[in-house]
């Protein structure tokens, strides 16, 4: 069974910008495209990414290309009533992050890839679905001995 990673919204934004430090996100999606990994996002992330792209001046054609490319390789799930309930009851802060995290957990993801320092800190001791940066995940994919 393939390892399943959840891509937080900031990872989708990574993929679509040319800002520095996004190589690891591109490596992860390339591995997903090769079917060496399975990936999951939520509709919320897709819609937010498209909204940011549009407001930043990306053309409709380019946005469609981006979303279509992600859609081809990545499972797109939704945030359901149970995720919302958990997020509301979760004592650890950001409601949206909590809902995303629970949606990832409900989709049986092994890792939650994010750059969000709040999520990274709060799941430090998680035993099932740890939140890590794409760089840390990429390091773990490097051949041993390197």
């Amino acid at each position: 069974m393939r390892t399943k990673v959840f891509l937080d919204t900031n990872i989708l934004v990574d993929l679509a910008t040319d800002r520095q430090g996004t190589v690891a996100s591109h490596v992860v999606l390339s591995m997903v495209k090769r079917q060496a990994l399975e990936a999951q996002v939520t509709t919320q992330s897709i819609i937010d990414t498209a909204y940011i792209a549009r407001r930043q001046g990306a053309s409709n054609e380019r946005i469609e290309f981006l979303i279509n490319e992600i859609r081809q390789y990545v499972n797109i799930g939704y945030i359901d009533s149970f995720n919302i309930k958990w997020a509301l009851e979760n004592p650890c802060g950001d409601f949206e992050d909590a809902a995303q995290y629970d949606a990832a957990y409900s989709s049986s993801c092994d890792f939650f890839l994010t750059r969000d320092k709040g999520i990274l800190g709060r799941t430090e001791n998680a035993t099932v679905m740890k939140a890590i940066t794409p760089e840390v995940f990429m390091d773990q994919m490097l051949p041993k001995g390197e």
Partner: protein, 118 residues
């Protein structure tokens, strides 16, 4: 059938263990659980544990951990970022929106602040 008791990490048997981890940061403890397995399998487990010089408990714990831990793939030696994936870079232009833009669209202001602002 033979009954054995195995210790395991408490966190792994919670319905949603990540939530426990979110709430507390204390070291994981061990719990006891009972398995029902065939005498033949138990004999093999004991034999394998003896071979590697560990207790039956430690051996079973190792085997279970190995079975449930995600296997992260290794990057192939000839790995390169997929050219189509690479071409996604730059679809979202990195520009700083004007104050007026942010004030007129609070949703965008929030998303920009959260996901794009360097």
């Amino acid at each position: 059938m033979e009954t054995i008791t195995v210790e395991r990490n408490t966190a792994t048997r919670k319905a949603k263990p990540h939530k426990k981890a979110v709430e507390t940061k204390k070291a994981p403890e061990k719990v006891q659980t009972v398995l029902r397995i065939s005498p033949e399998l138990m004999r093999r487990v004991k034999y394998k544990a003896r071979q590697v010089d560990v207790s039956v408990n430690a051996y079973i714990e190792d085997v279970l951990r190995d079975a449930v831990m995600p296997r992260i793939p290794t990057l192939p030696e000839d790995f390169e970022i997929d050219p189509v994936i690479k071409s996604l870079s730059g679809i979202i232009p990195m520009r700083t929106p004007t104050q007026k833009e942010l004030e007129e669209d609070p949703k965008f202001a929030y998303l920009y602040e959260k996901y794009l602002k360097v």
